[in-house]
Symmetry: D2
Subunit: 117 residues, 4 copies
């Protein structure tokens, strides 16, 4: 039997790994970035155990190629996700560190089940 906290952590990893490889390579520009952020958020929130997801894409890295657009790259991602299994939460992040798109657990916590009687 896998404890809830372990599963919440596992699910956070799945979602970050998945969104990264689903969306890297998408043509993007500063003008279209907000729409892509919203589409990623809407896709991730559909998946099981996701409580919250915030996606911000770094516009300063969206330098125009010779045709005037850019491509979504790993270092553009600033993502924070909260997963929940039972009463346990995991908050994790994808953000650039040392020029690497690093995924990290930020914190795990449990809320107390409210007594029902």
């Amino acid at each position: 039997m896998i404890p809830d906290q372990n599963r919440a952590i596992f699910e956070a990893g799945i979602k970050l790994g998945a969104l990264y490889h689903q969306w890297v390579g998408t043509p993007i520009s500063r003008k279209s970035a907000a729409g892509v952020e919203s589409a990623i958020e809407q896709a991730v929130i559909l998946q099981p155990y996701v409580e919250e997801i915030t996606v911000r894409l770094d516009r300063t890295l969206m330098t125009e190629n010779i045709f005037g657009y850019s491509e979504l790259s790993g270092l553009m991602f600033n993502v924070e996700i909260i997963t929940r299994v039972g009463f346990t939460y995991c908050r994790a992040r994808l953000a650039p560190q040392d020029r690497y798109p690093l995924m990290q657990i930020v914190e795990c916590y449990a809320i107390t089940e409210i007594s029902r009687h």
Copy 2:
């Protein structure tokens, strides 16, 4: 020297092949479908030689898995694209045929350059 019509056709093929493989696998639901359609359109229109792009995703195929969502699959795509190189246009389509997501050229045409004097 490659004629404009050939390049317009080539570009239409590139864009359809690209969007298919960029987006297949995205978690999707009937509720989020409109946002994904719009995000695909906005990503494609950024690319060179694209005049128009319309993306419709077949909601009837979005059957819910055990977690209540679906995944964007090839047969869901109904896409029409118009590319332009010089004064020549190519209209092409991605739509299911015989249970295969078929990409086809619909028509090519040129407009006459308007005399400037």
Copy 3:
């Protein structure tokens, strides 16, 4: 400070989520399947914290479309991965369950650091 076991679990989730969305949609056939399995394994093993990875793709689901090939879909995946952080290991799996490509933690364990004197 995140314990090693949590990080091993998190990394296992990342890798499974990533490979799924990187490779879904790839044209595939029974004949080419072994090459794709090997390419996925070689790509995953490059990533940090991965100790072992085994990818088997279900050939029985590779039914030919009208052009004689198939497309890698989520239910074809049978993947087992072992990640390691410090002396702690996580073994996780991606395999179909109830017609859903389910990712699950199989077990976590630690090996004892061998005394050096």
Copy 4:
């Protein structure tokens, strides 16, 4: 009715656009590059109208990140593809130009149908 040459050109575009977005983002290293090249070739050759495909990935761009691997990016691709529809061939290329991963038609040609009597 679309002439064979137009369809050969269209199919070349589709295949280049598709492989680009299918494979961009794959973890890669100089050691694993040959396996990825071969996997891409095997996936593309399955598809309709493809006669030949050669994929070379530029190892000099595979600089190691802090974890010792790299990620397949658009500028690494050197691809040549030959498509055929009827007796007409199209040769096209994906290669970097001005730091952009440019797709271009190289040439189209027809072979004469051999008289059968």
